[in-house]
Symmetry: C2
């Protein structure tokens, strides 16, 4: 077989087997959009011809990282809502109310570039505007599992604390219909797929939620939903169904392997185990939930039952970065601190949560997440000459994996390939003009900020006061 590309004389973390699948003196061969062969470098070079080959002596090659939950559409609001208690109402809303389609798209482009620079090849992107998401993931070249937000709240101003949300079924049905339309569209790249995205169990009616699950099953796709996200959600569930979220979902038959459940900030250990036993996936957003709530979700309890867990960067106004190296590190460290022990979430485990296990959460375990023949060639290369990884020690104890998790910042990523195509190569975006995207983000942010009502900001955000005090 004539290959398109061989990366030879390199080291691999294949993520095959139960650990990290380290291979020395290795090569990886790519044909079309797939990995064709993985193994010993000399043997592969002897057996295969390739149109192009890359010597990988100072590189580490591994599967691309997977961000299993992100809202790229609000990226322009980075850094506007930290260090306050009412993150959403006081921090986010004064700004997010002003976002329009054009601003959301500028944010999406910005956030995807940031993700790619830091080694992310797949984003499970959740937002109101599928058109913008499809467009930018297509143009930049990322793999994406997109979900349009489906909810029955016409707008956030109808939310009155302590009262049941007024549902507008028509709004919810419209969101669902729009989501389903995208399943039929032609000319969408194969690497872009869809989940259905009910916003949260308290934001859609029981009837609509069941309909969403039925439609997802019909189309053989998954459900991407915020679950047990906060006290506000549990208050709604209590008032509406006299139950906490996860037991209610269980009772209604809505916990199963089609579900990628996100957050679990307010879930207790028993609820985490219940979710795990159902076969559903769990995505935790350590950075975002750490900053917004100071919480560490019950990931350890979930992992005691199931490996189907992933990491997500959530969103820039909360997190504030979109970088899976950051999420791996914070997840490992937060869980050590929660348990007051160095043992929970070791480096190899969080690396799996950002690759092969995340693929499982998105129903893609046979297609991506590890370096194995037949899987898509979604790979990244790490520059082992970067000071944060030095010295590289291979014998008697390898330090590559601990340093990837505890020392690397993201800028160690040299190349990013999705489905056999480089989309980032030696520090440069291949398919888009990064400078233009950055400029557009700055322009759009400035335009949106002009619309922000400073009086309500003054009333709402403690940060506005902090700024007057010289703290920003």
């Amino acid at each position: 077989m004539q290959l398109d590309l061989i990366i030879y004389d390199t080291e691999l973390l294949t993520m095959e087997g139960g650990g990290v699948g380290y291979l020395a003196d290795a090569a990886l061969g790519i044909k079309d959009d797939k990995i064709a062969v993985v193994g010993n470098s000399k043997e592969i070079l002897a057996e295969y011809q390739a149109c192009r080959s890359i010597e990988g002596k100072n590189l580490l090659v591994m599967p691309g990282l997977i961000d299993a939950h992100i809202h790229t559409g609000i990226a322009l609001l980075r850094g506007l809502a930290q260090d306050i208690t009412g993150w959403m109402e006081e921090g986010l809303w004064p700004f997010s109310r002003q976002l329009d389609q054009q601003a959301r798209e500028a944010g999406t482009a910005l956030n995807i570039i940031e993700a790619v620079r830091n080694g992310t090849t797949l984003l499970a992107d959740f937002g109101s505007n599928l058109e913008g998401l499809v467009d930018w993931h297509s143009r930049i070249g990322t793999r994406a599992v997109l979900a349009k937000t489906i909810n029955e709240l016409d707008n956030s101003s109808e939310i009155v604390p302590g009262k049941l949300y007024p549902f507008d079924r028509e709004k919810g049905e419209k969101d669902l219909a729009e989501s389903l339309e995208w399943l039929e569209k032609e000319e969408i790249p194969e690497r872009i797929s869809f989940f259905l995205g009910p916003q949260a169990p308290d934001m859609v009616s029981r009837e609509l939620l069941k309909e969403i699950y039925d439609r997802a099953e019909e189309h053989g796709i998954g459900i991407h939903m915020h679950v047990a996200q906060g006290k506000r959600e549990h208050l709604q569930m209590k008032m509406r169904y006299n139950s906490r979220t996860i037991p209610w979902l269980n009772r209604e038959g809505l916990l199963n392997s089609s579900l990628n459940a996100v957050h679990l900030t307010e879930a207790n250990p028993e609820e985490a185990r219940l979710l795990a036993r159902s076969g559903a996936g769990l995505t935790v957003c350590s950075g975002s939930i750490g900053i917004i709530d100071g919480q560490v979700p019950p990931l350890q309890e979930f992992l005691a039952v199931s490996d189907r867990a992933a990491l997500g960067s959530d969103q820039a106004p909360g997190n504030n970065c979109n970088n899976m190296f950051n999420e791996m590190k914070l997840t490992a460290l937060f869980n050590k601190i929660k348990s007051q022990s160095p043992l929970p979430l070791p480096a190899w485990k969080v690396l799996r949560l950002a690759t092969i296990e995340a693929a499982g959460c998105l129903g893609l375990e046979d297609k991506i997440g590890s370096l194995a023949p037949g899987k898509y060639a979604d790979i990244i290369t790490i520059d082992l000459k970067k000071v944060s990884l030095a010295p590289v020690i291979r014998h008697p104890l390898r330090n590559l994996v601990p340093n990837l998790v505890y020392s690397a910042q993201g800028s160690e990523v040299r190349d990013v390939m999705v489905a056999g195509n480089f989309i980032y190569r030696k520090g440069r975006m291949v398919n888009v003009n990064e400078e233009e995207i950055l400029q557009q983000a700055e322009r759009e942010a400035a335009r949106i900020m002009e619309r922000v009502d400073e009086e309500s900001l003054d009333r709402l955000s403690p940060l506005y006061q902090a700024q007057r005090e010289g703290k920003l």
Copy 2:
């Protein structure tokens, strides 16, 4: 006055006043090794001439970051001791026993480069080999407050768990004498100064510790010491003095403003407040202590009484990186998680802990830590065109400070200047060949690893087993 350099049309975080001291449309003028003028760009350009000027439109200029506790000498052991309970005995010792002078120096050079790349201008560097520390800080151009380790333990193999350490007074006196010799040496750059470095209150006798304090007072220098570092220390203090560390230091008159007390991992809230009331400084090493012990020291209790606190990156085999952006972020987040609230350690506060307050811990508050006329020109510039900081929002709410702390990784630093000299400029080390230092680190690490006794490693380190299981 003719200035050497003006950076104009820029934004500053001066860190003057109680917050971050933000100035827009600003300029900074430098003459010799000091900051000569700070203020409005137009006014400064009208009033002053300079040999050289830099347009700072897309830069943020701020004081260099201060790493108030680091052991650069063990940097070659990066990533060899994570995710295990016996970090020091099982993880570190099988390797650190093999380190010799040459390997320590290679580690020091590596670690300083990493620090500078990430915006650190001053390292409070603690180690056994002052000659190597002086040499590399001199050559690279960093400011340094160096402390030679003083202890009365001849070697770590004498430590038997549960027994009093056998003190060797002669060894301790020799360490102290060597420390004092360096105070008399000529031809040491002004930017390099010394503290005395008793390793910990359990590792020197009461008599020697008092002598160290007396010598420090005579010479007008400070004390850099690990305090309340762990259960092992408290067990020794209990056996020797029937007291916990901090109350004992207080009783002995050893808590005062000359002390930079590091860690406090095992201190309780009352002990943290006692330290704070004494006027001593506290340096916390969030990354290192998080990874090694899963602990968050009582920084919040200390800060309720005193601002004299700083951050340290500790060491590469524990942390695993030497990056004050990492420390700022982890300190903010760990404290939020400890308190289950987004409020503790806001962005502006950790930025102060890494700059002006750290200067206070090292007795240098009048010389560095903020941008003010008469202070040394220890400054860094941040490239505001980096995607992790985009978009930069200035009105109605500035997002610069939250994004520096919660999003920046360190690679946003463009230039680093110490005492008026650029030591890192547009991504390149100015005074040393970085490539050579990296190669030397790799060679030295390989040499040391050849000496490691694999049998004892097999017996001691759970990581050796993890490696066989494919987890490294």
